[in-house]
């Protein structure tokens, strides 16, 4: 008997829910922004999301719905997140692609549903996007090539006598990983005294960065500098250098300016990192998303700043 009542209640609830969804009774109140990042287990994205929330709170009636896969490499789960937001009829989507190509089908679906898409922080593949007819409103983020080049120029200035240099790459296939490496190599092209002796992926991961760089040091004991395409890998390299007893003998440059690396720079353990101002990306994302919803024109490319952080200016990045 009780079971029957329970079943009836559940059924009634489901029917009401579905009807409600069809009639769109949740659509009435205000603007809803879907905000999809690659992971919330990286402080970089937590900062971005917090700034986006703060920006959204400024305008009454704006609701920010944040979604993120468990792991940064899972583009499949990110596509599901976008699907869910489309099903909730959000007004506009801000997406940080986990993969520059893999995210395209999700954007295509949003296009079909008539939901405008803003790309944040990591560019989509422009050729494939054009080929598949995928449309995005704008890209908001720093230029990773410029940042990589900045890191390369700093490395050159720190190693006037030249020497062997290594690169720890991010997950390949990701535009940010390719661009940072390309920018770094472009800077080094003008410095024949520096030789890139090893360049391998360590998947943005600290422990992998440690192991891979430890192995690089074995193969190339004369390495004088290492560029970690993100701070997690650079901090792994720092640990490998420490274990090898080569403290302060190898120039370490990271990327992202996370708290741990800022601390390491302040202590003098690490030399430099590239700051991308994730807060600005999050804030601009919401700001321009609202402009799009209100049918205001938005430029196709909105650059945010990159800055070199060294011991000299680390205090201003806390």
């Amino acid at each position: 008997m009780k079971w029957r009542i329970l079943k009836g209640t559940i059924l009634a609830g489901l029917v009401t829910g579905v009807l409600c969804g069809q009639l769109g009774c949740h659509r009435q109140n205000g603007i809803r922004i879907g905000f999809v990042v690659t992971t919330l287990s990286n402080p970089y994205f937590v900062t971005m999301v917090n700034a986006a929330k703060a920006e959204a709170a400024k305008t009454p009636g704006v609701q920010l719905i944040v979604q993120a896969p468990d792991q940064a490499v899972q583009v499949g789960q990110q596509i599901d997140d976008v699907d869910n937001l489309i099903a909730q009829h959000v007004n506009v989507l801000c997406i940080v692609p986990a993969d520059s190509k893999g995210i395209l089908p999700a954007i295509a679906k949003a296009n079909q549903a008539g939901i405008p898409v803003l790309i944040l922080d990591n560019k989509i593949d422009p050729q494939l996007a054009a080929k598949e007819g995928v449309h995005t409103v704008t890209y908001i983020g720093s230029d990773n090539f410029v940042g990589g080049k900045m890191a390369g120029e700093y490395m050159i200035s720190k190693l006037p006598k030249g020497g062997d240099v290594a690169i720890l790459e991010g997950v390949s296939g990701v535009d940010a990983a390719n661009q940072r490496k390309a920018g770094f190599l472009a800077a080094l092209a003008s410095a024949p005294q520096l030789h890139v002796v090893a360049s391998q992926p360590a998947d943005w991961d600290r422990e992998k960065g440690l192991n891979v760089f430890q192995n690089m040091l074995q193969a190339h004991p004369n390495i004088k500098g290492v560029f970690g395409s993100n701070d997690e890998m650079a901090l792994g390299a720092l640990q490998a250098i420490h274990t090898a007893g080569k403290d302060h003998k190898i120039v370490i440059v990271g990327y992202d300016a996370i708290q741990d690396s800022l601390n390491a720079i302040r202590k003098g353990d690490m030399d430099a990192t590239i700051a991308q101002l994730p807060a600005e990306v999050g804030q601009f994302g919401v700001k321009y998303a609202l402009q799009v919803v209100n049918h205001q024109a938005v430029p196709p490319n909105i650059p945010t700043e990159v800055k070199l952080v060294t011991a000299a200016n680390v205090a201003s990045f806390q």
Binding site: L40, N211, N263
Partner: protein, 311 residues
């Protein structure tokens, strides 16, 4: 397929030595004492987890939660340390938490009769979530130097993590081969119903095995946290697969009743040698994954052939 008995018996050891010689020939740095030490160091975390996994697989179970438990116990340890808890107390706390989580797995598996695969799949997700919740996804660092020495120091050239792994392996081998307890585990894995009828308290032994697996994950987490000088909520991702691979390459059967510590040690070393060697040869990590996958399949195929030839 007929395989000569000698070759079959020492197949794993022979392939490990051949692999080392080939990589050493391509780049002599590989065989330097420093680098061989590195391999031991880089394999030790996986080996410790794989030791616990060996017991679980011998009784016919599986533990997918080990990687997430590394993150959860590592984060707990990190938080203890930065809040001024004494190093030995913090370590003990983390290991107890690991044992407790393993015990939880064991209780649900034995009492509620939920398949181990499902239970530990659930705890894998839950433990990762808790690890992320503890600090809202942030890493924890700034540990006392006495703690950092654990992962980065050593005695007479042998790093502490490798030492801990080898001592644990020796203890496990003695437990499995030299005690009644070990014999019972094989009996339960071979035929748990027969073991039950024979009078063994099967649930108690199964529960114990998961407690061990959880505790070993926590010990691995202690060494890992010390080694990278930070506790990360994303640590240990996919470690369960490396641990299962080491165990299976070492000759354990997923249907239970077989597996040895000696095999697991060689399995973990084989994976460590491949990762380190290919990275020294500047081969991309993608090729590494392909090769490790291939080796798992070949190793199990050889193991099956060995079984047939000994029958």
């Amino acid at each position: 397929m007929k395989v000569p008995r000698f070759l079959a018996r020492y197949a794993l050891l022979i392939s490990l030595v051949v692999l080392c010689m080939v990589i050493g020939f391509l780049n002599p740095v590989f065989l330097s004492l420093d680098n061989l030490t590195n391999i031991l160091l880089q394999s030790s975390v996986n080996l410790i987890i794989a030791l616990g996994m060996t017991f679980v697989i011998i009784v016919g179970g599986i533990d997918l939660s080990v990687g997430s438990l590394v993150a959860l116990t590592g984060m707990t340890l990190g938080l203890f340390l930065v809040h001024g808890v004494a190093v030995p107390v913090a370590i003990l706390g983390a290991v107890l938490l690991g044992a407790l989580c393993g015990g939880l797995n064991g209780i649900v598996i034995t009492r509620w009769r939920v398949p181990a695969f499902i239970v530990t799949l659930g705890t894998m997700s839950a433990a990762r979530g808790f690890a992320l919740m503890l600090t809202s996804g942030r890493s924890v660092s700034g540990f006392p130097t006495s703690f950092l020495r654990l992962g980065n120091g050593g005695i007479v050239g042998l790093p502490f993590p490798a030492l801990v792994a080898l001592v644990l392996a020796a203890l496990c081998a003695i437990g499995l081969r030299g005690t009644v307890w070990g014999t019972y585990l094989y009996a339960i894995g071979g035929n748990s119903r027969a073991a039950w009828i024979f009078g063994l308290r099967v649930p108690r032994y199964v529960l114990g095995v998961y407690v061990l697996s959880g505790a070993f994950s926590a010990i691995a987490a202690v060494l890992l946290t010390s080694r990278i000088a930070a506790a990360l909520p994303t640590a240990g991702t996919l470690y369960e697969l490396d641990a299962i691979a080491a165990t299976v390459i070492g000759g354990a059967s997923l249907s239970g009743g077989s597996g040895t510590i000696y095999g697991t040690v060689l399995g973990a070393l084989l994976i460590g040698v491949l990762r380190n060697g290919l990275s020294i040869l500047n081969v991309s990590s993608y090729v590494q994954q392909v090769l490790i996958g291939g080796i798992i399949i070949v190793a199990v195929a050889i193991e099956m052939a060995r079984h047939r030839s000994s029958e």
